[in-house]
Symmetry: C2
Subunit: 216 residues, 2 copies
């Protein structure tokens, strides 16, 4: 370990980007503390001046680790991967690494930002339709890519950052009632991954800040 | 070189994500061929079935390199970095690498997707206001981060992927008439970077598909 103090994740149980980081910590077997940032309560706790110093974008997650504060989940995941022992989260082969990053970025840049809380709040009555449109558009692109790259997991048979991005995005798709039957490869991969311990313990239904009625 | 055939960039002169890849090739001194994909003409050449096989998201860029086809500019840039000699595009130190990725992702996930052509076309008469809002929101977060991390360039005194993302995003900000005076660090870094050869030769004003009236 690069540091003796535990990393601190400032996140929200239902945030897909917070869940990505929780999966990465779990896969690596890294213990961490969680500080809940409730995106709904008090008009949004991410909007306080105090939280802004941790993540100037006023989004979750923010991670305090090894004396620095990082935001942007893929930057955090790759930092964890590069500094912690345990299974690697990106393959050794450069072409496979590129495919993992392509899939991760398709989700993290091409889908999630267009259906996150801040954006859909701007859409008012159209928010469901807007979110569905952008998730469907992304999944239509992702499905043929994953059909090519996947084995047991998104890229071959090794769990990677691509899988870490996929599962929380499918969870969002389900929340927005996107029909997953159109995406058999995505559906299959998600089902396989959801059985894995690191994806189960990090699930939004069992976090310290999960409300009682959503626990399962 | 991992392959003897030149990489092929399918891109558009004015696309900020295509420009990112052009800068990376230029910094590494890698020769490449360009195939223009006109995002406006014929209703958008990125929408053809033929192009869809290169990039299922029907966005630019797509890059054919070493026998694989990649989309998502940051995946492409990191692949170039990991497989080509020349100056590295991410620092050796893991914490600095994380900062480079955080800044790159803040732009590539937090700003660009919300002001790209596809999204603003949905906004109709409000498109200018929408784009300005999301660029300003991102720059308000980026300015204090860069104030901390920057030296001559975005992270210390080494040109990195963060710089590759910054300059095309500032170009977009200028197109959408965002007031850069509010962001002195961003403005300073952009001015410094714009003088560098790799950023000049890759500029939208001098590409094979730049229309005559926009050349300069």
């Amino acid at each position: 370990m690069a540091s003796q103090t535990k990393p601190v994740l400032h996140g929200y149980f239902r945030s897909s980007c917070s869940w990505r980081v929780r999966i990465a910590f779990a896969l690596k077997g890294v213990e961490f503390d969680q500080v809940p940032v409730n995106l709904i309560k008090d008009g949004g706790q991410q909007l306080t001046e105090q939280y802004k110093t941790l993540n100037p974008m006023q989004q979750v997650p923010a991670v305090e680790i090894d004396g620095i504060t990082l935001s942007q989940s893929l930057a955090v995941i790759q930092y964890i991967d590069e500094t912690r022992p345990g299974p690697r989260l990106l393959p050794a082969d450069p072409k496979k690494r590129a495919q993992v990053r392509m899939i991760s970025d398709l989700i993290a840049s091409g889908i999630q930002p267009l259906q996150n809380l801040y954006v859909i709040q701007k859409m008012g009555a159209e928010k469901m339709q807007w979110a569905q449109h952008f998730i469907d558009r992304g999944f239509q692109a992702l499905e043929p890519i994953l059909k090519e790259t996947s084995g047991t997991y998104c890229v071959d048979d090794e769990i990677s950052m691509a899988d870490i991005c996929l599962v929380p995005q499918v969870y969002n798709a389900e929340r927005f009632k996107v029909d997953l039957e159109k995406y058999p490869t995505i559906k299959r991969l998600n089902q396989t991954l959801r059985e894995i311990e690191a994806f189960r313990v990090s699930h939004p239904s069992c976090q310290p800040d999960t409300p009682e009625e959503l626990r399962g």
